[in-house]
C-alpha cells in the first residue's frame, strides 16, 4: 500500500517510471497491452500501403511511399523495444498477435482500393494516429514516452504527403476528384473509430488516466482530430460523409453523427473486410523468415565456438 501510494505521488509529480522501478502489476500489464498493440498496428499498417508500391503513379510517389512504409516498420520496432523493457519478449508479442490475443488498430482491416486511398491513409489515418501520439509523448512510462517523441518527429511528413496526394487528385480531372471523394467516404468513419469507444464505454480508461498512461480521453482526442480535419477537407473541396456535421458556434467544436459502433465491434472481433488477409500475410512472412533467424543464430554460435577454441 505504501509503495502504491509513493508510486501515485511520483506519477502525479509528472515523473517518468523506468523499467526497473517498482510498479503495480496492473500498470505493467496495461503498458504491455497498449504498447504491443501500438507496435502491431505500425507493422500491420504497412500492408494496406504496401499494396500500392508497385502501382504508385510516379517514381517520386513510389520513393515517398517506400520511405514512409519503412518508417512505419521502424516505429513498430521502437515500440516493441519499449514493451520488451517490461519483461515480455518480442517472440511472445508476435505469438500473442498470431493467436488473436493481442489486437492492432481496426482501421488496417479496410482495403486500399484506389490510389487516393494512399492519400486518405496519410491524411486521415496518420492524422488520427498523430493526434493520439502527440498526447502520448507525455505518457508516464519513460521508454514509451521516448518512443513517442521519436515517432512524432518522424511522422510529420506522413500526414503532409497524404494531403499532397489528396490535393493533387481533388484538383485534378473529375474522375480523380471522384476517386478522392470515394476514398474520403470510405476512410472517414474508420479513422474516427481509431480513437476507440466513447469515454463512458471504455472500462480501461479510468486506470489509464489515473496512472497517466493515457493523457487525454478517447472522445477528447477524437474531437481534436475532427476540429482540425474538417477545414482541411473544405480546402480540398471534398465533402465529409456525414449529413449531420455542423459547426457549433457556442462550443467552438464540430458536431457529428454517432459512429456505427456495430461496425466497429464487428471489425474488432475479426469480421472486417481484411482481418483474415492481414493476419495470414503476417504469419506467412514471419514463417518464411524463420530460416534467416535460424541461420543467423547458428552463425553467431559457430563464431563463438571458434573464439573459445582459439
Amino acid at each position: 500500500m505504501e509503495k502504491l501510494h509513493d508510486f501515485q505521488r511520483f506519477i502525479d509529480a509528472e515523473e517518468k517510471i523506468e523499467p526497473k522501478d517498482w510498479m503495480p502489476d496492473e500498470y505493467r500489464a496495461h503498458n504491455i497491452r497498449q504498447i504491443s498493440q501500438h507496435a502491431h498496428s505500425e507493422v500491420i499498417g504497412m500492408q494496406p500501403e504496401g499494396n500500392w508500391i508497385t502501382r504508385a503513379p510516379t517514381l517520386r510517389a513510389k520513393k515517398i511511399l517506400l520511405a514512409k512504409i519503412q518508417d512505419e516498420g521502424g516505429h513498430g520496432l521502437y515500440l516493441y523495444s519499449a514493451a520488451e523493457t517490461l519483461g515480455i519478449s518480442r517472440d511472445e508479442m508476435i505469438a500473442q498477435l498470431h493467436a488473436g490475443k493481442a489486437k492492432y488498430s481496426s482501421v488496417f482491416n479496410y482495403p486500399t482500393l484506389n490510389w487516393a486511398d494512399i492519400g486518405a491513409i496519410g491524411w486521415l489515418v496518420d492524422g488520427a494516429a498523430v493526434t493520439n501520439q502527440l498526447s502520448l509523448r507525455r505518457t508516464s512510462f519513460g521508454p514509451y514516452s521516448r518512443a513517442m517523441l521519436r515517432i512524432c518527429n518522424e511522422e510529420s511528413f506522413h500526414q503532409r504527403q497524404g494531403y499532397e496526394i489528396m490535393l493533387k487528385m481533388a484538383k485534378g480531372t473529375p474522375e480523380q476528384k471522384e476517386m478522392a471523394q470515394d476514398a474520403l467516404n470510405r476512410w472517414w468513419w474508420p479513422s474516427l473509430m481509431m480513437f476507440g469507444p466513447h469515454d463512458n464505454q471504455s472500462a480501461r480508461s479510468t486506470k489509464g488516466m489515473l496512472w497517466k498512461i493515457k493523457r487525454a480521453s478517447n472522445d477528447e482526442l477524437r474531437q481534436r482530430f475532427i476540429d482540425k480535419t474538417v477545414p482541411q477537407a473544405e480546402f480540398l473541396g471534398l465533402t465529409i460523409p456525414d449529413p449531420k456535421l455542423r459547426w457549433n458556434e457556442a462550443t467552438g467544436h464540430y458536431e457529428t453523427s454517432d459512429i456505427n459502433w456495430e461496425e466497429f465491434n464487428q471489425v474488432i472481433q475479426g469480421n472486417g473486410p481484411c482481418n483474415k488477409e492481414r493476419m495470414d500475410h503476417h504469419k506467412q512472412v514471419h514463417a518464411e523468415g524463420a530460416w534467416v533467424r535460424e541461420a543467423a543464430a547458428a552463425y553467431a554460435a559457430r563464431k563463438q565456438e571458434q573464439l573459445v577454441e582459439v
Partner: protein, 99 residues
Amino acid sequence: MASNHTDSQGPVWEVFTQKKSGVPYQHAGSVHAFDKDMALENARDLYTRRDKPSGLWVVPAAEIVAVDPGEAAPFFDPADDKVYRHPTFYEVPAGVENL
C-alpha cells in the same frame, strides 16, 4: 532485458548515437542482433534514417551494470552532503574580481 537471450531474434543491444562531433553520445533505443556487425547495421537502419550522425555505439544490454532504482537514493546520498564542493559556498569579498 537479459531474459531475451532465448528470443529467436537474438539478444538485445542498447544503441547510442552522437548527433555531431564533440557532443556526448546519447541513448537512442535498442535493437536485436546476433553479433556486433549485425547490431551496428540494425542500429544504423533503425536509428539513423534521417540526420546523418557522427558516431554510433552498440552495447550488449546484458553487459550494462545499473544501480537498482530501489537503492538509488542511499547510493547517491554522498552527492548532497558536501556543500563546500560548490563555488557558491565561498564568500568572495567585495572588490575581488576574476575569482
